[in-house]
């Protein structure tokens, strides 16, 4: 029946919402990577000597490593010498001292992105660190945080102001030689966020970082380090966007979380990097290493991610559960459409006694996309009484997409308990007919059904993020009904 073809075509034509380019003067390095580039970068950031040494060591490791090929993704080789490793908005004079001094053009960019940076930030009670290309532009709410003893600043600033903390923890969770992209990041990371929550402090507000890639042919390599001291708590939100460009752009980030006795970190991500067009042209390569170390007793970490963007996603937020009774959680929604490819999941490494982990993964595939869940649950010899629960659901929209599940379980402890549940379902014609018979648009019906499918994960997100995530799914699914 000739139904909503016209509507659907119009929807398909609707463009990626965050696809604008900001006209801004920037200082950008010539493409290419060698030791001199790293020295220049380090010098530009006025880094102490130890940092430069650390970078160079990572770079030399990276040179000896090979790009991983085991992921269920397919893409042409990246030419690492065609990428520029540093781009910063040109400063009118020096670094801006307050929001008023930030380039208005830049602020408008953030406004377009719906970032609550200015007054809105205060209303929302969110402290934002915004990373634009390679540098951190503005951090709001410094004062109330300082009062609580919380440090929330660009990592480049932390390297200068808190070198002891950085020296102690940087690379302690994700060592420079951990993997190919982590090594590259360690060599060239340009900025990112640093958070330190002192002993017994409950961070008075949610902390938030927005990342945006603007400049062409630029890689973004941000590095985030969060340290939660004994008995502390912090909820951290991260959002990402990038303009539409025909060429692929590389994003290789590293996030390290350190959690001590009785502390908790809740880390939420809404990733909406440019996914490429409907023919699979352009888009971000999102190769990210995220890992949390529950060092202390009763430490707890929750990763919640909503992944709708990027041409290719390669990401496994992981938990190393070393402390006794420590808890790791991973809640994930990964949606792929058109020609997007995602290989994402988690690693739960149980080392301590009575450690517990939960994995809830919801994969949604539409168009011709490919969506893989890859998860490792590992029990070391000392993980007496440890347990894991994994639930892994896939939802297919249409008949040209793929969903794959690669669960790995390794146990060196007989007392460990693993439960694994997996389902694959389709948005059925009957469900669609029911919705449409009640007057609901096909597009809206799909989005409602998908939102229902993701409910268990969305309820883990902070309120305002949950709303954003729901809307994002709606936008990302446009054109998926044919």
């Amino acid at each position: 029946m000739a139904t909503t073809d016209k509507e659907v075509k119009e929807l398909i034509k609707r463009e990626y919402e965050h696809g604008f380019v900001t006209e801004i003067e920037s200082d950008t390095f010539e493409p290419g990577l060698n030791e001199d580039v790293i020295r220049r970068l380090s010098e530009l950031k006025q880094e102490p000597e130890f940092m430069l040494e650390w970078r160079l060591k990572a770079y030399r490791r990276w040179l000896e490593m090979d790009e991983p090929e085991w992921a269920h993704v397919d893409f042409p080789k990246v030419d690492y010498n065609a990428i520029s490793y540093y781009s910063a908005p040109k400063k009118k004079e020096d670094m801006p001292q307050s929001l008023d001094e930030v380039d208005p053009e830049l602020l408008r960019t953030y406004e377009k992105l719906g970032i609550p940076l200015h007054e809105r930030a205060k209303l929302a009670g969110v402290a934002v660190d915004a990373v634009f290309d390679s540098v951190s532009v503005a951090t709001t709410f410094k004062e109330p945080l300082e009062k609580a003893g919380v440090i929330f600043c660009p990592i480049s600033e932390a390297v200068q102001k808190y070198p002891e903390l950085v020296k102690k923890y940087l690379g302690s969770v994700v060592p420079a030689g951990d993997n190919y992209f982590a090594a590259l990041n360690s060599a060239v990371f340009s900025d990112g966020s640093f958070v330190y929550i002192p002993k017994g402090v409950r961070c008075p507000m949610e902390l938030s970082t927005y990342f945006r890639i603007n400049a062409a042919n630029t890689g973004q390599f941000e590095r985030t380090l969060i340290i939660a001291e004994e008995g502390s708590y912090v909820s951290y939100l991260e959002g990402c966007t990038a303009p539409m460009r025909d060429e692929n752009q590389l994003h290789a980030a590293v996030v390290e979380l350190v959690i001590l006795d009785d502390a908790q970190i809740k880390y939420s991500t809404v990733q909406n990097w440019y996914p490429g067009d409907e023919n699979g042209k352009g888009g971000i390569y999102n190769f990210v290493t995220k890992r949390a170390a529950c060092i202390g007793k009763n430490a707890k970490v929750s990763w919640t991610q909503v992944e709708t963007g990027s041409a290719i996603t390669w990401k496994y937020p992981s938990c190393v559960l070393r402390g006794e009774n420590s808890v790791g959680e991973f809640y994930s929604v990964a949606l792929t459409h058109n020609f997007q490819q995602a290989d994402t999941g988690t690693k739960m490494i149980h080392l301590g006694k009575n450690t517990k982990s939960t994995i809830i993964s919801k994969g949604i595939s539409a168009g011709r996309s490919s969506n893989a869940y890859r998860g490792l649950v590992k029990f070391g010899p000392g993980a007496d009484g440890a347990r894991n629960f994994t639930q892994c659901d896939s939802l297919l929209i249409g008949d040209r997409c793929g969903a794959h599940t690669f669960p790995y379980i390794e146990s060196k402890n007989k007392s460990a308990i693993v439960e694994h549940e997996a389902t694959t379902s389709k948005v059925s014609d009957e469900q669609m007919f029911l919705c449409r018979q009640r007057g609901i648009d096909p597009e809206q019906a799909v989005s409602m059904i998908v939102n229902g499918f993701c409910k268990e994960v969305f309820k883990e997100l902070p309120m305002e993020f949950a709303v954003e995530a729901g809307k994002l799914l709606e936008v990302s699914l446009e054109g998926s009904v044919g």
Binding site: E430, Q431, F433, L434, Q437, R438, I440
Partner: protein
């Protein structure tokens, strides 16, 4: 209101409806009876616009406008409602959210303002009482874990909320015990109105004791073979379909 002329429809190449003619006026209640496989459910699905069926001939108009050109959701917005025989589950989507989305889609179509969550909650609670459904059902997933009877009551509740011009009830009585049948029938009777038509598809006469139709039609082999008043249903109950020259191993009761 609804005019069906020489309607032919097939599924997977097999012709099910072989020339249906039917006129339904506002305010009327029509019952379609017939043995299994006669095409009763197909007729309901085709009228509602299920794309699994192919229309191979004939025409259907609603208040003079061609219905068959409209996609399912537009037919719904023009006032066609189908109470499903087997309502499907939509896990994770609350009944409340589903119903509000539907009601607001209709309101938007009529150029009315959408209802906010609080307004809708109030309305939905009232309507749920009409079919004896605990308002707690509103928070559960659409048809998720509902019993057969709860699903049917949920369908009638939706009809009451959406206030259609033409309500098609597909075997709404199947699988109901006598108490539930009474509740559902009360709901359907509450739907009866001068500006609304009801088309009931049923295998059993007993529903018609509760919802008394103005007209009864017998569908067999994809055609209406006999039409009459209320008395036709009683005669069918007494004599089966055999006297009409219809074979059916599973007749009236």
């Amino acid at each position: 209101m609804l005019s069906i002329k020489n309607l032919h429809a097939s599924v997977e190449g097999k012709e099910i409806l072989k020339g249906i003619n039917l006129e339904i006026k506002a305010g009327e209640v029509h019952a379609i009876m017939g043995p299994n496989g006669s095409g009763k459910s197909t007729l309901s699905q085709v009228l509602a616009g299920n794309e699994a069926f192919e229309i191979t001939g004939g025409e259907v108009t609603l208040n003079g406008d061609n219905l068959l050109d409209l996609p399912t959701e537009e037919r719904a917005r023009e006032g066609i409602f189908l109470a499903f025989q087997y309502p499907v589950e939509i896990p994770g989507v609350s009944n409340l959210q589903f119903l509000r989305t539907a009601v607001n889609a209709m309101r938007k179509h009529r150029g009315e303002e959408e209802m906010n969550a609080a307004e809708f909650m109030k309305l939905a609670k009232e309507v749920s009482k009409q079919v004896d459904l605990d308002p707690a059902f509103l928070k559960r997933g659409v048809n998720e874990g509902f019993s057969g009877g709860e699903k049917k009551r949920n369908e009638i509740m939706q009809a009451l909320l959406l206030q259609p011009k033409l309500a098609i009830l597909d075997e709404t009585d199947s699988g109901l015990d006598i108490d539930a049948l009474q509740v559902v029938s009360n709901g359907v009777n509450a739907l009866r109105a001068e500006d609304r038509a009801i088309l009931m598809v049923t295998h059993y006469q007993r529903l018609l004791n509760h919802i008394v139709p103005d007209y009864v039609h017998v569908l067999a082999g994809g055609k209406i073979v006999k039409s009459g008043g209320r008395e036709l249903a009683l005669e069918l109950e007494e004599r089966g379909y055999g006297w009409l020259g219809i074979k059916d191993e599973d007749t009236s009761n």
